[in-house]
């Protein structure tokens, strides 16, 4: 039978496939996971005061991060581009009464630009303030987060570390893939009582836990992206893969 006599099944008309940025996708994934654990999302400005970005978080004027080389200052040093999303936690603690369980997700800025560091990157940080929160609770939450992100087969370890706003502080490594290497995945700790007091929360009644992770780093591990700079070249061949 010829083309003129019968109905021909036309080839499918394929639509162009768009894509969300891989950082957006990872943010969505982590945000939804944290919401499922009872954390509400909080927002804050990317241009911050030194008070909220440093002082209230117990990052003293003698801390190396406050030097001009690590922080972008704007408008005659009157403000900073936030160096982390932690000021959102400060704002939330000042606005809310405990118990508090919030997370903030967004862009942060550091004066850095090389193969492993960018002047702008994304963080997700969470904080929980309640009575009787212990290091054991912190570990339990971190295990839950890591297992949700990387599967319950993943091995993780906690290492003591240092952040001015948490005490005790820890960094968490996971044993990653075929390389069999421990890779740092997030930082966490019990909220430093000084920070609670700075936010008018009685540290003798309340304690808290906090954690923070770099979205680019998680995304790189999740998708095997070798170079962090690839996220911000806006190369369609790269972005359309996600």
């Amino acid at each position: 039978m010829a083309a003129s006599d019968k109905k021909i099944n036309l080839p499918k008309i394929s639509s162009d496939v768009g894509s969300l940025h891989p950082i957006t996708k990872m943010q969505n994934k982590i945000s939804k996971m944290l919401q499922s654990l009872g954390f509400a999302e909080a927002h804050g400005p990317e241009i911050e005061t030194e008070e909220y970005n440093f002082d209230m978080l117990n990052i003293k004027s003698t801390h190396p991060a406050r030097q001009m080389h690590d922080t972008f200052y704007v408008e005659n040093r009157s403000r900073v581009l936030r160096t982390h999303t932690s000021p959102v936690q400060i704002r939330s603690m000042l606005e809310m009464d405990p118990p508090i369980a919030i997370f903030s997700s967004g862009r942060v800025y550091r004066k850095d630009d090389d193969a492993t560091h960018l002047p702008m990157f994304n963080q997700i940080e969470g904080i929980m303030i309640d009575k009787n929160i212990s290091f054991r609770d912190l570990k339990s939450l971190i295990y839950k987060i890591i297992y949700d992100l990387f599967g319950s087969d993943v091995k993780l370890r906690f290492r003591p570390s240092y952040f001015p706003f948490t005490e005790p502080s820890a960094e968490v490594d996971i044993l990653f893939g075929e390389s069999n290497r421990w890779l740092e995945i997030l930082g966490c700790g019990l909220v430093n009582p000084i920070v609670l007091e700075n936010c008018d929360i009685n540290s003798e009644i309340y304690s808290g836990l906090a954690f923070g992770l770099g979205v680019e780093r998680i995304s790189m591990l999740d998708s095997d992206v070798p170079d962090i700079r690839d996220f911000y070249k806006s190369n369609l061949d790269f972005l359309k893969q996600f």
Binding site: P22, L37, N235
Partner: protein, 647 residues
């Protein structure tokens, strides 16, 4: 810091293996790598006390038996009558000077000193400076050696406004500016306190009378200075992180002991200023420590005696029991980081091992439902329309009156925060058009900042750009995106609203393509006034996407136009072409499809795009691949390629 492992072993009676030491270093929070016998340890900024072999050994002392302290000079030392004026006792509350005169002969270096230079790849300078550098490694305390014969009259320590040029011991000219804490002699700066000494008074191989300065400077005074003057200074690094303010006597006696190992001492005399409170005290309630680590309802408990044992191994000295739960301890002078009970809890947790603290199945609170998912829905909507989300850095060259200026930009050509998204997206378009992309549909949603009447303004904006071919299918391939494409993009959400679409001039766009560029840019709030996403739920994609490397080499397109006389083979042809695969075949799609009813023929046009990850492909390589495709296609009955010739 780098430590030669045998040097560390000398501090222990038991001789642990490097693996055992490595495990315990991790447990204590000292991240490191091992290269043969070298440990390269990253010390957190709060642990300046660990920036030495002695400091690391002391921290490991909770696990391994420490041997007796290193040999020091135990004899009496004369008092030095030094003309020294400390005008900055707040910034330098304790300082010592040791003057030592030796006989001419300096013996070959002992093995421990020689190893320091050989194994750690340090270069030797002169005897006294070499000992000073070694002691910084062994004890973490910086010392500075002046050639005593080059000092005339009194030495003054003061913070003063400087504008002169200073020549460092490394013969580097440094133009000083602003306030600096300096040592001066006869009004000449001879030492940038805590950072680096000067060439005018430094020791040489001929020095036989040395004045050794050993001080404690407040970290805030030193912080940032070595960066400011681009000086690489280990001393400044240690002072920035805090050194022991009460260790000078021990350090100088150790210095003297090392001199004695290598030379005959004629005279030694010491000058000391001590204005520092030696020890702080802390009350430790073990029930509170237990609560911080395990929580109130845990089966795990801390035993008071065990806690005491841990704290004493960490050099805290028991002062008195306050009650059944609380004991007061003296904090050692080198642990300025211990301030409150959470710090003690961290110390105890480190010794127990973070990984040995149990965890439990977490009881989650009531899940939170996101109330405001307009932005998420908007992004998903655009994705479904074929748009790709971009994210750009906010730093730009050009400014308007409301622009926010960055005081210390990374690049002086990008000293402002952008006030619109358009320019970023145009750059994204240029970037991709230069990479042979002829259909661009992209968007960005970001916060923008501006300042007006000294008030900061934040707006969350969206920009969408579309240009080039409408789509890569046979219906739309030959159509170019027009203004109405963007005007109607949200019509299914609000048919009544006309979106303002701008055509962007290509005058300043660096691209060979000439397709018109269309843009929508507006605030998200404004957009949400016009559209909403009732019942729109995009499924969450949780599966991981594994990245495939992106080529930086040009691609080559080849079009084949197949003629089919028998439409029964249409599906076979499409299946055959769709299943063709090769590492350099990046993309293929049908760009033309035509049924000629009169001649009972079907014409189908296929575009194949080739690109290698590793090189620019040559035509002859593509010819081979096209030959394979054609051969497979022509095996089907009644399929031909009019006019095709493949040599």
């Amino acid at each position: 810091m780098k430590i030669y492992f045998p040097d560390l072993l000398k501090f222990f009676d038991d001789k642990p293996s490097i693996t055992e030491v490595s495990d315990k270093l991790f447990q204590l929070g000292h991240e490191h790598v091992i290269d043969k016998n070298l440990l390269d340890i990253e010390i957190t900024p709060n642990r300046g006390d660990c920036l030495s072999v002695n400091g690391i050994a002391r921290d490991l002392g909770v696990f391994f038996k420490l041997s007796k302290p290193k040999e020091i000079y135990e004899g009496d030392i004369d008092k030095l009558n030094l003309e020294f004026e400390n005008k900055e006792k707040d910034l330098c509350p304790s300082i010592s000077f040791l003057k030592v005169e030796i006989h001419d002969e300096i013996m070959p270096y002992q093995k421990y000193l020689d190893d320091f230079f050989e194994k750690l790849d340090h270069s030797k300078k002169n005897f006294f400076t070499d000992v000073s550098n070694y002691l910084l490694y062994e004890l973490g305390q910086p010392t500075h050696c002046y050639d005593y014969e080059k000092i005339n009259g009194s030495i003054v320590l003061e913070k003063k406004e400087c504008s002169e040029e200073f020549v460092s011991v490394l013969n580097k000219n440094i133009k000083l500016n602003g306030d600096n804490l300096v040592f001066s002699n006869q009004n000449n700066i001879i030492n940038l306190a805590g950072i680096m000494g000067g060439a005018s008074t430094c020791c040489s191989n001929n020095t036989r009378t040395v004045l050794i300065e050993c001080a404690y400077f407040k970290s805030e005074e030193i912080l940032g200075k070595s960066r400011k003057y681009n000086i690489n200074s280990d001393s400044a690094f240690n002072f920035e992180r805090g050194v022991d303010p009460c260790n000078q006597d021990y350090v100088l006696r150790r210095f003297l002991s090392i001199i004695k190992d290598h030379a005959m001492i004629k005279t030694a005399a010491i000058y000391q200023e001590k204005n520092y409170k030696k020890h702080d005290e802390i009350s430790v309630n073990y029930k509170i420590i237990e609560k911080i680590i395990y929580g109130e309802d845990s089966k795990e408990t801390l035993i008071k005696d065990n806690l005491d044992q841990i704290l004493r191994k960490l050099s805290l000295k028991r002062v008195a029991d306050i009650d059944d739960f609380t004991t007061t301890y003296k904090i050692p002078s080198f642990r300025s980081d211990i301030v409150h009970e959470n710090d003690i809890a961290e110390e105890v947790a480190r010794v127990i091992g973070y990984d040995n603290i149990p965890y439990h199945k977490i009881t989650t609170k009531k899940p939170i439902c996101s109330k405001d998912n307009f932005e998420e829905n908007l992004k998903n909507f655009l994705k479904n329309k074929g748009f790709v989300e971009c994210i750009n850095f906010p730093f730009v060259r050009d400014s308007i009156e409301e622009s926010i200026q960055i005081d210390n930009p990374l690049d002086s050509n990008e000293a402002y925060l952008r006030t619109c998204l358009k320019d970023s997206l145009i750059q994204n378009l240029e970037y991709n058009e230069r990479r042979q992309k002829d259909s661009i549909k992209i968007f960005e949603i970001s916060n923008l900042y501006s300042i007006k009447n000294q008030e900061l303004h934040e707006t969350r904006r969206i920009a969408i750009i579309a240009s080039g071919r409408l789509a890569k299918n046979y219906r739309d391939f030959s159509k170019i995106i027009r203004k109405d494409f963007l005007e109607t993009i949200f019509s299914e959400l609000n048919p009544a609203f006309d979106f303002k679409v701008d055509e962007v001039s290509r005058e300043n766009v660096k691209s060979k393509l000439k397709h018109p560029i269309f843009l929508i840019e507006m605030s998200l709030r404004e957009l949400s006034d016009y559209i909403s996403f009732k019942n729109f739920n995009e499924p969450i994609e949780n599966e991981s996407v594994k990245y495939s490397p992106v080529s930086n080499f040009p691609s080559i397109s080849r079009d084949l136009s197949f003629l089919i006389e028998n439409d029964d083979v249409l599906d076979d042809l499409i299946n055959s072409l769709s299943s063709f695969d090769h590492k350099d075949l990046k993309e293929k799609f049908i760009f033309d499809f035509f049924i000629n009813k009169k001649d009972s023929q079907i014409k189908i046009g296929y575009r194949f795009i080739f690109q290698s990850l590793y090189k620019t492909l040559e035509d002859k390589e593509i010819d081979v691949l096209i030959g394979d495709i054609v051969k497979t296609a022509l095996e089907l009955e009644s399929v031909s390629i009019p006019g095709f010739k493949n040599e």
